[in-house]
Amino acid sequence: MEILNLEGTEDTPKIILDKGNGIYEISGRSLPEDSAEFYQPVLDWIEEYAGQPNPSTEFVFKLEYFNTASSKLILDVLSALEDIDGTTIMWYFHEDDEDMEEAGEEFSELVEIPFEFKTY
């Protein structure tokens, strides 16, 4: 399966989805002009991965900021991961960033996937 590797910018997150090496990570800032268009390749990748996933999938979110439009797409990503057995969400937040911690907690209540919360 092909690796999805998008370099991060000021307004878009860095994304690495690599089945072979077991790396699944979205990090940085997410305020793309068109969130739906930006996240479509991610959703497509997950859809393909769901057909033949690894036994366990530790999906890392290490975001500094995301806007309202991105929050909807992040929920779409989480919903897509919901159907993949063995998935855990690793939700990272800066130790001073209570907002990001609470955002992760809110997300964890919207989907049925185990979340682990970690600071950096």
């Binding site: 995301f66 806007n67 309202t68 929050s71 907002d99 809110e106 997300f107 919207l110």
Partner: protein, 131 residues
């Protein structure tokens, strides 16, 4: 409307109006008139307290505690996800007609002071998708 939905709506109203400089007097008056249509006087006060708490009305920080203004105003990530959660809750419970009423009320609220800023509209866009 049930208590659960009114509380969800109160939080939605608060999240929208706290953006871009915070709630204005006209917006707050709109919220009060909405509560008066739905609730008795005693409960209006209870809900208004809730609205003021969530919207941060009258909780201006002293000058020394204010953070420097960012170049671009940003909605907090917590508010964004909270909006999704509230819309999902409302969506599950209300009929199509009630959802239309909710959306109209939200637009009327923002229109109360003609404060259609990009930040507020982004939240409403998100609500439009879920409701």
């Amino acid at each position: 409307m049930s208590e659960e939905i009114l509380k969800a709506l109160t939080q939605l109203f608060a999240i929208i109006t706290k953006q871009d400089g915070g709630v204005t007097e006209k917006e707050r008056l709109f919220v009060i008139s909405f509560f008066k249509q739905e609730l008795d006087q005693e409960t209006v006060n209870e809900y208004l307290e809730l609205y003021d708490k969530y919207s941060g009305f009258n909780t201006e920080k002293p000058e020394s505690e204010k953070k420097p203004e960012r170049k671009r105003k940003l909605t907090s990530v917590r508010d964004s996800v909270k909006t999704l959660a509230l819309c999902k809750k409302i969506n599950k419970t209300l009929t199509q007609n009630q959802k239309v009423v909710v959306l109209i009320k939200i637009l009327e609220l923002v229109g109360a002071d003609k404060n259609f800023t990009p930040q507020r509209m982004e939240i409403i866009d998100c609500e439009l998708f879920y409701l």
